[in-house]
Symmetry: C2
Subunit: 270 residues, 2 copies
């Protein structure tokens, strides 16, 4: 429903080259302004601008963001649908969960990346030797299927809630030693380095955004259809040998991926 103030401003679309008034109280359709307001608020929430987790009321947000109250309300609805905030009469708008940034700048395990934010603990769903690797996994790891390997699946918890579901196939030599390590408390990366005596080198990563299937949703305790990151990560030892083929699902309401990109040539790959 359009508020009369909104309606009075509606109808006209900004045209290329035309100088326009400021910000989000403008002649643009409300859905567009709401999207922009949601983007700004998401950025502020994720960067910790509301340290007590309470957002100002709609009127104050509107003032602060130069937006109409209706656009603010619609933006808050979008962020509620993302699972980022809750809205309750008498309580106001509060941030559900801090959203952590996981760096895409360097290769780090989750516990490493979140050190200082809280302890990551792992619920082990699978940790076993397999006598034969699925053919496509063997191919990615550069070993024959008959070489076998180690399958790990861990649900990773932070602050009492699931954060990600990590499924890995490791090569037999590296994986067998990792199986003997503290899989509940440690990152696999540090276990690999510690037990193999080799440093890790590079990892090839592909990030997908998908909606959670019912099974994944139940494990991660989110609603089916919620957005999650699906990462493919193939990690190599410093000598270039691939040892860890992972598939990771990350709750997108709890984590953003961050990186700093540089113009010019990419760093030499290992």
């Amino acid at each position: 429903m359009d508020h009369p103030r909104d309606a009075a401003r509606g109808g006209q679309r900004a045209r290329p080259g035309r100088s326009a008034a400021a910000g989000w109280v403008s002649s643009r359709p409300r859905a567009e302004r709401a999207r922009e307001v949601a983007d700004v608020l998401r950025q502020q929430i994720t960067s910790g601008r509301f340290p007590d987790g309470v957002l100002p009321d709609e009127y104050s947000l509107g003032q602060r963001l130069h937006a109409s109250r209706n656009a603010v309300r619609e933006a808050l609805g979008l962020l509620r649908n993302e699972g980022l905030i809750t809205r309750r009469r008498g309580v106001g708008t509060t941030v559900v969960l801090p959203k952590y940034g996981h760096g895409l700048d360097r290769l780090a395990g989750l516990a490493e990346a979140l050190s200082g934010h809280g302890a990551v603990t792992n619920e082990i769903r699978a940790a076993e030797a397999v006598t034969e690797l699925p053919a496509v996994i063997a191919e990615r790891l550069g070993v024959p299927a008959a070489a076998g390997g180690v399958r790990l699946e861990r649900l990773r918890w932070l602050d009492g809630l699931p954060l990600s579901l990590d499924s890995s196939y490791l090569t037999t030599d590296v994986g067998t030693r990792v199986l003997a390590g503290d899989l509940v408390g440690r990152d696999v990366f540090s276990l690999i380095e510690e037990t193999s005596g080799h440093r890790l080198g590079r990892a090839d990563v592909a990030v997908h955004a998908v909606t959670a299937d019912p099974d994944t949703a139940a494990l991660l305790r989110i609603e089916a259809g919620a957005a999650v990151f699906a990462l493919e990560r193939l990690t190599h030892l410093a000598d270039g040998r691939p040892v860890d083929a992972e598939s990771i699902r990350i709750r997108a309401d709890r984590m953003a991926l961050r990186t700093t990109l540089h113009r010019g040539v990419p760093p030499a790959s290992g």
Copy 2:
């Protein structure tokens, strides 16, 4: 519905430390195996392993992936829900769209990143000077709100379908010159460098996964509720001055984000 072969194998869960049989014909719940099969197929589809866009039939896929036909069928259902494949009786399973990789290794515009894959064209939705910046945007750009700026919004098309919706605020000096450039055919990054005479330096990027609101969905021609990437990107000139604050929505069925991560220290930031 469980196929009898599946049921006969069901009931037992793999336990830590226990050596298990190979791959995806196993005692694990079918939803888990389907998820793994879907991950492998997504990886293969995205990396161009089915160049004619046609997937083998369920039986052949099962053979190839060591998976039961029911797990394969369920996996294909997941990928269909992601918009990656279609399934039609008599035609089989086909890839809907090639999924492009956008490098998160270095700072590049979309057209640059996709050069060789096809021509990106831009539908200009806004290209205008604004007399006052929204306060939070001004803060990100490190200028007073009263300095104004330039607002750009472009829907970016590749192969006759929308790929992303890019909304930017540029500083006045840089933005005014960009407004005079070929916004239909060019990346904003190359226009900034060309018209300002300055090289770009670094960009701070945060990647979120969200579900598309109805307005975004209509623009990107996807279903509301489909997963999309929402990127925040703040781009600086080589001298460190921020000039371009962007909010980008990318169709996640058409694009994966790729990077190579290295263990050890991150590259020095500019």
